[in-house]
Symmetry: C2
Subunit: 151 residues, 2 copies
DNA sequence: CACGAACTGCAAACTATTTGCAGCGCCGGT
DNA sequence: ACCGGCGCTGCAAATAGTTTGCAGTTCGTG
């Protein structure tokens, strides 16, 4: 596999960045990790480990390795975990440049996902943190409803 | 066990209401269901099924039955499910009178939970729903951070 | 180019949650 | 107060998602 750059850079980190961050942590740039990153890069919405694994069809990569790779990518801050309330972890690439913080609008019937780019909670979050003496406060927020097709 | 009323009615529905709602759904008022309801009534924060089961020590009630009871109570709208991002379901009694909608501020180190009574997302949610053509939109929101003791 | 640390596949272990089944108990009707 | 039927429960086993132990393989540095 060459070191060439990809033609379509939908979103998020690229191979070079991955290699770089991995090196800094005494981690290795391996096939499975590239595969997982690639898979996420081609996905528009959060993917479950199982989905990621399925998308790798052909390439040899154990599901357990997908989990381990996601852990690494997550530790490196290149991937973010989301919960859609069904107890299944979903992962999405962190958008390049930004901190990647955003939310989703999920159809409870067909599972369709809309990415919401804005986050309006900064001020409210700050207020809550202060009021309760908490520090380093973050939040998880997802919206659920019926999409136009499912109403 | 008598049919007497409890002396401390912290929050949420009581036995009479449970019996009433159950009857309406051709469901039965059984020991385990009362136990689960009681247990939740004495809890100030969302409880995992395992915690609920543990709190029932002494009373015979299978963990599977706790799950089933929670499902029933949830269907009846007397109990609400929360996700704290660790993939474990937690349940809380729906506050009496109100719709019970609220959020939590959770310490990521000691798991302490602060109940947040207000919800500030109504307007934002409405805007998002409209903008995307969704209906019957709800949301799940939890805040995470370090509590004063853990900083 | 060799070496060691990191990584992978495979299988087994775990944890949370659900389900099949046979017997028991609640509740409306009598 | 009693009966009968439909839930409901306990128990155990099945699922489903995720993690882990181990032995062999690979990456990246010296």
């Amino acid at each position: 596999m060459g070191t060439g750059h990809q033609h379509c850079q939908h979103r998020g980190a690229n191979l070079a960045e991955l290699a770089d961050r991995l090196r800094r942590g005494a981690r290795k740039l391996t096939g499975p990790r590239q595969l997982v990153l690639e898979s996420l890069r081609h996905s528009r919405h959060p993917q479950t480990p199982k989905e990621i694994h399925a998308a790798l069809a052909g390439q040899p990569c154990d599901l357990a390795t997908v989990y381990r790779s996601l852990k690494v990518l997550s530790d490196l801050g290149m991937v973010q975990r989301f919960d859609f309330g069904d107890g299944i972890a979903r992962f999405e690439l962190v958008a390049e440049g930004r901190d990647g913080h955003h939310h989703h609008l999920i159809c409870t019937r067909c599972a369709r996902v809309v990415e919401l780019d804005e986050c309006f909670l900064d001020e409210i979050q700050q207020r809550i943190a202060t009021a309760n003496g908490f520090r380093a406060v973050t939040h998880k927020l997802e919206f659920f409803g019926l999409c136009p097709d499912c109403q």
